[in-house]
Amino acid sequence: MIKSYIKIAWRNIKGSPLFSSINVLGLTLGLTITTLLFAFVQHENSFNSMFSHKDQIHRVLVETAESYNNKTYATAPAMVAPTSIEEIPEVLDAVRFLKHGFGEAAYISTGSSEFIESSLYYADSSLFKIFDLKLTQGIAKEALTKPNTAIVSKSTANRYFGTDQVIGKIFKVDDRLNIEITGVFDDLPANTTLDANVYVSFATSFFSRQPTWSNSSLETYLLLAEGTNVSALKSKMQTMLDKFVEKDAQWYTLNVQPLNQVHLYSNQIENAYSSRKGSIEQVKSLSWLALLILVIACINYMNLTTARSQKRSREVGVSKTLGASVSNLITRFYAETGLITAISIVFGVLLALLCLPYFNQISGKEIPSSMLWSGTFIVSLIVIWAITTLLAGSYPAIYMSNLSAKKILSGGKIGSFWATRVRKGLVVAQFGASTILIIGVIVIYNQLKYIQEKDLGFNSEQIMAISVNGINEASNVDLLKLELGKLPMVSNAGAAQGYPGKTVSGRMVQNPLEDDGGLAVQTNRIEAKAIELMELNFVAGKNLPEIKAEGDSLVDVVINKKIADYLGYTPEEAIGKPIQMLPSHNSFIVGVVDDFNFASLREPIGAYAFHNYSSERKEYMLVKMSVTDLSQNLMSIENSFKKIAPNVPFDYSFLDKNIEKLYLEEKQTASIGMIFSLLAVFVACLGLFGLAAFTAEQRDKEIGIRKVLGATVTGIVKLLSIDFIKLVAIALIIAFPLAYYIMNNWLQDFAYRITISWHPFVFTAICALGIAMITVSFQAIKAAVSNPIDSLKTE
């Protein structure tokens, strides 16, 4: 029987190619998007699930109290791991990761060539046991135990040496360390938080020689005994802290985070080293988007299918007189939907495969195409297929099977009051959903534009930050500055520890009059010229001194207004006042700048201070360029750089681009949303097209009679269109407040945000009505110009 159903379905599809292709196209687009988004969601959810001890692995979190702004860090002090193993029986093992230069790129030299390595970690050898890392070459037992040894991934070995036979080879890190390769591991999968290309033995790192309880820089993972009670573990960790760290020095408490939450639930956790960070919010919003688009596609299918009900109903009527029961007919319609969905899903997956590289590019993920063929994914596809079939087939099947045979066969009009209502309701839902999508995308886009164009309080344009970490001698850095200053296109250059958009050092400013623990502040060691070129707005005092005499122990500080306010000074009063912030007791305020946005606009402006104390390295050379020929500029600057530091790779970025990166996630969500919303609108239009065709068919006779009675073509087009315009208008009225509510909620995440104006609403309304009008009038005109004789002689 099913065979016969599928046969009828197939012939029906072939019999009306236009309708079928619109139908398949709509579903295919919907399913392509759903497949991609689903792959994305599954990829994100699959993170770190490949480790055999995944349920026992927890990451140590360092949580600070209110006086340290209630921050949570993913990095812990070096003593935590070894002491926990000894003191806490549940902790079976632990591994510490330190990213080179606290997250900075490493400069690798193999003798014959140089590389910038952005994923070099120092790690304990327990890595092999905890994360089941296997070596394809070398001996795991011995690897990572001795100082100055390393293991590298296969592709990295090929990148450095052009071969994976690299055991015993030596490479140089930052021109300082000679590291011997003792092992090669297969590249880590794209869906793990571990993103290392090179693991250097932890014994090589500074922290293995001087482990402390205070400097919190190591991402630490614990292997816990099975069934460990986490709250008991937490109190044991506190006991451990109390035992080894004096109460006064305990600026943090310890917590743990299960491995399966590390990827998606770490948005509020700072200092994690991995470049692969997910966001549950993004996963959630894209899941909703996938569902919404699937629903729109299903509605589309329902509309198009029932649109042909007049023709198909005869067949239903005949089947009923031949003895088909309602359940027979329901099965029959589901068979047809199932077939069309199956075709669409095959096309959808193929299209998704084609689009995957672009999707990866937009979303910044590395979803492998093999994922779309994996067993679990195919099972999920079958589930999607079943859901789509049930959803899309429901209305046609139930509606059509319950039609009365007698009514159909005696040529009466089918389609009751309710059937029409339902169909209209579907169109309203479809257009409403599309409207929300469009408004949402416009608001996100406007907010991002606002952020990018907002006056940040300094000028980030044309400023390049060249990493000078690889240059060992400070005198060479000065030389580089001189050299760059000679270039005609460089208007200014100065060295700095960091720049706005980059985390610098976190410290506390103490107010001697208040006993409130102080104010958290970001401090940046910098040269006067670097402040100058950022064009910060001085409200009082002056810049740091250009030159500092050798042995001058006086520290000059430029603060922002936030700090002056906290200290209770007006900007003018603050000048010349001492400030307790740096380890030096000799710091004085020389200048006050207006508040500027040095971090994401999601947060209100915090306290920021520039100083010339020698506590930090100056890792960057900031260069302000005066001409815009970028490639010419780059070439000249690189030449100067190579003259000073021939063995150090030239690594640079632009300040404005770095600031954009702060909003990467929103940008990705917005771009994905934008493309998919457009497709959703397109699919919605297909649905409207179907409904218009249906109405024209239903009112065939009426139109014929009206024409015989003298109605004009325009009159009839108006008659047919007005109903749809009404539907779209209703959809808009329902969608507007919803969209406003949803987007207003989203904007609350930003400390600096736009207010939603009427523009996107008007724009969306015009678009929706315009597109609807075009879609419908196509059918309406076709009906209106047809010969009335054709429609009237059907009896």
């Binding site: 016969s4 009527g317 005949v318 089947s319 007189t321 003895g323 088909a324």
Partner: protein
Amino acid sequence: MTNTLLSLNEATRTVNSGSNKVTLLDNIDLQVKEGEFISLMGPSGSGKSTLLNCIGMLDSFTDGGYTFLGEPVHSMKEKNRSKLYKEYIGFVFQAYHLIDELNVWENIETPLLYKNVKSSERKAMVADMLDRFNIVGKKDLFPQQLSGGQQQLVGIARALIGQPKLILADEPTGNLNSKQSTEIMELFSQLNKEGVTIIQATHSEKNASYGSRIINLLDGKIVSE
């Protein structure tokens, strides 16, 4: 003595048209015996089609009794009713109502699918039917490739495949020319001789004369036999 196939006892059908109650069938009393060939006659709107539809259980009487093979149809549930007509009744329509997407073979086979007849049995039965109606050569054609007469032939073959006791034919020759009409009517009387009970609605005196009994309807009432 032949068995009574069905009997109507003061069967009435009324519908509401706006605020008016319209009586389509008015206290019909009718006994149909197995093997009869009845022609229903009457002008348009006299209730022929409604009566056929009600007998065929596509529609129901609003009042009165309807007994089919001794079973009271009027008090039956929808499910049993559909079981009943699936088993015993075949329909032939003026507009043939073949399924466009199915070829001749498949159209004839359809009722057997709904009766869950086994595949091998179905094949044999459809082949027999094609043979009997001399349309073996047309078995792979689709309805729109056939003439009206041929389509009606397929329609009758389809109605007969389930071996019904009763065939209900609503203007079976209404869309056919006179030669085709004669052939179809000849076929009906042949079938009737083989024992199938037939009720047809018709406008044509000539077609009606093939029947063993003529019933005239006017305004929903039987006016003469």
